[in-house]
């Protein structure tokens, strides 16, 4: 009841100056709307850029790295245990690139609970013959179904169909830059030469565009079996197992575990693409900083208007105090005024922010490097809305705090005598 009284007094003071109140609330609305639009747009952009690389990158890559043995024979010799070893020009004795027991590893990984899916891969360095010119390139042998499901392979196919790789024998999908260089249309045949000198004619069933020119210029895809045939290897020969996890954050821990269990090398996505993480977090940081600055500016607006209101309403405050309202009641009245500006402005701001995001989402935007994108990216995240409203309440409360304190300290005697 007392609170109801305070709210009703606050309301009348607000309504008596509704124009200024509206301007103050609009300041909050504007800043919250911009905060949300900015963060949503920035997060959308982050998702897009991350998607460019991270969506196509396995969370854990299992492979065999060619490197010299960590413990050299001399170090095992007890006669020189305490000596310093000068060894130069060490060579890697073990040059096998393929994964032993790949079948068993895949079976075992598939049983793991954290694993979403697995896609085997092997690569072959080849030359594409274009008349007398030879263009270096890479053929990736993939499991088309798994690759499409886990790494959105289908999204990047510009012409033809990924499924044709499995249906048509001796087929290949080229990067679009590479296809352009070779003047190869869908249905044409390109000839490749392996490093061992063998030649294969392959039928082009499509081309893809990844958005990264370097990849589009050199990479091509065929089935695992086809590449094994090109390399003249048995059908358990694969050089890499790509693992997609249910939770990407577990990648570093699991990569370490797999490396130990299967005695292979395993690299997690965070290590492989640390620069993307940094970029994303910096962009997010900048958008938060700008958004918070906007809110603080709005807070100063509220501070000003409340201060003015207190000067105008000195008499009213004095009379409220003379008739029995205590300092803390007056303080509450002005805090309620500030907070209601914050709540009203904030909620309208949330709606405006959402509408702004929706509008941005509709603006057409196409770039050759991102074939699946048709409009500006926007990420709708309820967290931004929660942060926005919480922060608007905090700033308006703080902006109201000083004027409210000042109002509560007004000495009614001075005002009443001063007339």
């Amino acid at each position: 009841m007392i609170n109801k009284l305070i709210i009703s007094v606050a309301e009348s003071l607000l309504m008596a100056r509704w124009r200024q109140t509206l301007v103050a609330a609009l300041g909050v609305t504007f800043s919250i709307a911009m905060f949300i639009a900015l963060l949503s747009f920035m997060a959308g952009l982050n998702d897009l850029l991350d998607g460019l690389i991270l969506n196509r990158t396995p969370h854990v890559r299992i492979f065999n790295e060619i490197k010299p043995s960590a413990t050299q024979p001399i170090e095992r010799d007890s006669a020189y245990a305490n000596a310093h070893h000068f060894i130069h020009s060490i060579r890697s004795a073990n040059s096998r690139q393929w994964l032993y027991n790949s079948g068993a590893i895949i079976q075992s990984l598939k049983k793991e609970e954290q694993v979403l899916g697995i896609s085997p891969k092997l690569t072959a360095q080849v030359f594409f013959n274009d008349g007398s010119v030879e263009i270096t390139g890479v053929i990736n042998g993939i499991d088309v179904n798994a690759e499409s499901k886990l790494f959105h392979f289908n999204d990047y196919i510009m012409a033809g169909s990924a499924a044709d790789l499995t249906k048509i024998p001796n087929s290949i999908i080229l990067g679009n830059e590479l296809a352009g260089k070779l003047l190869a249309d869908v249905g044409d045949v390109v000839v490749i030469t392996t490093s061992k000198g063998e030649q294969f004619p392959l039928k082009v069933v499509g081309y893809f565009q990844s958005g990264l020119k370097e990849i589009d210029r050199t990479q091509s895809y065929a089935t695992v079996g086809m590449v094994q045939k090109i390399l003249n290897k048995p059908n358990d020969y694969i050089t890499e197992i790509q693992v997609k996890l249910k939770d990407v954050n577990q990648a570093p821990a699991l990569a370490k575990r797999y490396a130990k269990i299967y005695e292979v090398d395993a690299e997690d996505i965070q290590t492989a693409n640390s620069q993307f993480e940094t970029g994303s977090s910096l962009r997010t940081l900048i958008s938060y900083a700008v958004g918070i600055v906007l809110l603080i500016v709005a807070g100063f607006g509220i501070y000003n208007i409340l201060n003015m209101m207190i000067y105008e309403k000195m008499d009213s405050i004095a009379i409220l105090k003379a008739t029995g309202f205590s300092g803390s009641d007056v303080n509450k009245i002005f805090s309620v005024i500030a907070l209601s500006i914050g709540i009203f402005g904030g909620i309208v701001g949330l709606i405006t922010g959402f509408v702004l995001c929706y509008i941005i989402d509709q603006i057409p935007f196409s770039t050759p490097s991102l074939p699946t994108i048709t409009s500006y990216p926007v990420h709708y995240n309820p967290t931004f809305y929660i942060i926005g409203i919480v922060f608007s309440l905090i700033t308006t409360y703080l902006a109201g705090w000083f004027p409210a304190r000042k109002a509560s300290k007004i000495d009614p005697v001075i005002i009443i005598r001063g007339k």
């Binding site: 309504m15 300092g327 005697v413």
Partner: protein, 226 residues
Amino acid sequence: MSEIVLEARQINKSFHDPVTAKVLSDITFSVNRGEFVSITGKSGCGKSTLLYILSTMDTNYEGELLIDQVSMRNKKETDLALVRNQKIGFVFQFHYLLNEFSVLRNVMLPGLKLHKYSEEEVEQRAMQKLKTLGIDHLALKKANLVSGGEKQRIAIARALINDPLIIMGDEPTGNLDKKNSDIVFNIFQQLTEEFKQTMLIVTHDQSFADRTERIIEMQDGRIISQ
């Protein structure tokens, strides 16, 4: 025997800015229930200053102030606000209504603050007070749309809403013409006679003071006759 509602014991007050000047010295007097007292004196004799001390709004003084036989010394600001709300009704020289509210709401505010009665009851009581003062037809008007004399009567109704122990007035007729002054005085007189309402009115209007039951005269911060 009449009981004492307000008592001042040895009240002293000095202003220290810019130089120390004593404005009140050794003010000692008491007001009994149902008395109609006026404090008079020339401008600057300290009568308003005294009233603000007596009303608990000014706490910067030496001496003892008892309202309803309770000392106001060492009371917290919120407790003093409660005392003002409950036991004191104010009428100022300038009406000091809240322009944002209707007349009725203005009268109701201290009652709502006290929260002794429900909102409906407070409204009813406020209407009754307005009726007693003959201004119930103004109840729903905005406070800034009524005349000066009417405003002062509304302020009296507001002072009465919580059935205060004492009504204090600071030059309540100072800003009114003869006709309205008479109306206000008659209201005060009616309140003391019919409702045994205690009144303490500061005024420099000698004709007003002469018609009250008891006159406390002040000069240079001292009471010279009471």
